[in-house]
Symmetry: C2
Subunit: 234 residues, 2 copies
Amino acid sequence: MTKLGRLYGLGIGPGDPELLTLKAHRILTTVPVIAYPSLENGKVLARAIVADYIRADQIEIPMPLPFSLERSSQPHYDIAAAKIADQLTAGRDVAVLCEGEPMLYGSFMYLFQRLAGRFETEVVPGISSTLASAAMLGAPITFRNDVLSIMPATLEAEALRDRLAVVDAAVIIKLGRHFAKIYQILEQLGLLDRALYIERVSQPNQRIVPITEVQAQEVPYWSLILIPSQTQPQ
Amino acid sequence: MTKLGRLYGLGIGPGDPELLTLKAHRILTTVPVIAYPSLENGKVLARAIVADYIRADQIEIPMPLPFSLERSSQPHYDIAAAKIADQLTAGRDVAVLCEGEPMLYGSFMYLFQRLAGRFETEVVPGISSTLASAAMLGAPITFRNDVLSIMPATLEAEALRDRLAVVDAAVIIKLGRHFAKIYQILEQLGLLDRALYIERVSQPNQRIVPITEVQAQEVPYWSLILIPSQTQPQ
């Protein structure tokens, strides 16, 4: 009987290919099979990040996963999981490429739920855009007793307002069409002068703009707002 | 006039030397000078993480920084900053080693405040133990509209209770002698059965124990509790 392959959830970081870890790079360049989400709406860039590292003899499994994680998306994950399971059953290791950190708001978790019980699975952590934004903005996030809150802009306005009203430091992710809502809340809470805006963290087209100059209708999904702590190191 | 050196805040990850990014590895192995906190209390391990990558011809600046970030610690940072400034002024690039992610509860930020205005500075993000713990525990943290709260165990019990009472998902860091306090709060809030405990994330002596079996008096500083989201991917 063939030994089963090993499943890797490979965190590949926010966009700069040099922000892969040595471990992710080693696994990526040695596994026989790689799988990655493939979508037509431009929101998925996992394969593009590591394109230069992929070998011609590696088997590629593009997974047409829906971006909105609704109940109707289950069959897509079932199909992707079945394709990956076929490779693992044939004894081949499979690395699933995950933008940022696989366990943080990642679509990998839906495959993890389907496969980790049946196959040996290892998750390799990656640099999340959430935390990397601070390095890119040159803005320390938290000190000493600060609490950091990471929240998606997709939350209801009231929930966002309640959360943001009490934060020490925060990162608001997945802005896209929710930017205007967030801007208004930050204005109401007096947080606008602390808020830093960044698009496409560490990608070639990374863009940092004062938040008051952002055009709401042009905000991409891959953008976030960082509100650093007010505590100052001395 | 000599061109000034460049200052790097180098995130080197939580402990596994393979969790450095390709970028941090490149900079670490090419700069003429490296600096790192050096303490006798065993809480600092930056140099040990990358020991195998350091060359004999690199200048090393151990910085005896106090661990508790109190007002009295300012002179220590002033002295360390002055030593680094000397090297930068002499035209040498200096990489400051930072466990985890430099901008998140890191002592690098105190050097950043002192030096970034005078010297060209680049922060290289690193894998934080906070987020890496999820990979090691095999526990997805957040989905969809979840909010993640990262908080230090050093907070007052009441503040911790208020924060933890409303979290979707949380990571409580720097447990050490605060473990018993945290345990009691989690018990009161009915969060104990969701709480996952891990020591020394990704280090050779990493240890995962059911939280109910942890001996409070043996909990190291480098330990954390992860409370994953209750939302389940489907």
